[in-house]
């Protein structure tokens, strides 16, 4: 138990805002941006805000695995690099998974009380995703 504490996974943090960042592809209001940062970006971007217990193993390992999977599914830092077709799919996925309460994950919300979405926050995000879908569909 003590020994494994020395095996720390690499952190998912990047100071750089990539050219493919979602904020450079579609417009996001400050309020939506703030919700995304608190409730989504720990697992869906290149920037995780790590809690203290992430330094306790094996919690940190589980977390690293979680983040890896989340980023494969959707990465806001690389959103601009997706094809228009995938961008539309991802936005649909965002709206649907919030509507269906699939995201944020239950296990994540237990530890991150602030990540829980209120009804207002949910509709704010869903409307934003919907508007973005409409604006992308026009371009397409």
């Amino acid at each position: 138990m003590i020994i494994i504490q020395f095996i720390q996974p690499a952190h998912n943090t990047s100071e750089q805002v990539l050219a493919t960042d979602i904020s450079k592809t579609i417009s996001i209001s400050d309020s939506v941006k703030a919700i995304l940062k608190i409730s989504c970006c720990d697992c869906h971007s290149n920037n995780t805000i790590y809690p203290w217990y992430s330094n306790v193993q094996p919690v940190g390992w589980l977390m690293a695995n979680h983040i890896k999977k989340g980023k494969v599914e959707l990465n806001f830092s690389e959103f601009g690099g997706y094809s228009p077709r995938r961008q539309l799919s991802k936005l649909n996925g965002i709206a649907n998974s919030i509507k269906d309460d699939i995201m944020p994950l239950k296990s994540y919300k237990i530890m991150h009380k602030s990540a829980q979405l209120s009804t207002d926050e949910k509709s704010l995000l869903i409307n934003w995703a919907q508007q973005s879908i409409d604006s992308l569909s026009v371009i397409k």
């Binding site: 094809s83 077709r85 995938r86 539309l88 799919s89 649909n92 649907n96 269906d100 699939i102």
Partner: protein, 169 residues
Amino acid sequence: MKNIILGLTIAATTLTASSVTDTNSSGSIKEIVSSYLQMKNAFTEDNSTGAATAGKKLEAAFKSFDKSALTAAQKKTYEDVEADAREHAEHIGANGGNIAHQREHFDLLSKDIYDLVKAFGGGQVLYKDFDSMFNKGKGAFWLSETKEIRNPYMGKAMLTSGSIIEEIK
């Protein structure tokens, strides 16, 4: 006798080999379409597990698709569709038991398969059917092999709601 057996074996092997190549050249889009239709039919029966099985089959069909015969432009179209459609197939495959979520992916998957069929042909006559109620009245379409309407979004609740909006030959 020995020669006859040998001859027959060679003939049989050649026949099998040529039929395999035949299905591969035009058959993989066919395989993709048939897995999609299998999934669609599972949804019309509210069969979530059946849809998941078809999802895994569809994912495998995309994976084994032979791109070598495609032109550069075709390859681009195919890869664009594939990247998206495979993810939907994977999600539908992994979400047996959650039919509402599977159907949301099926909506997006249907768009992908439609574009694929429009670009490469479906290997059979297909109908593009539209249901105006799904997605809170935004509507959604699906592809079908039959003229008869069997709605995969509504399933048994409203099986015959919808209409044909295009015949794809």
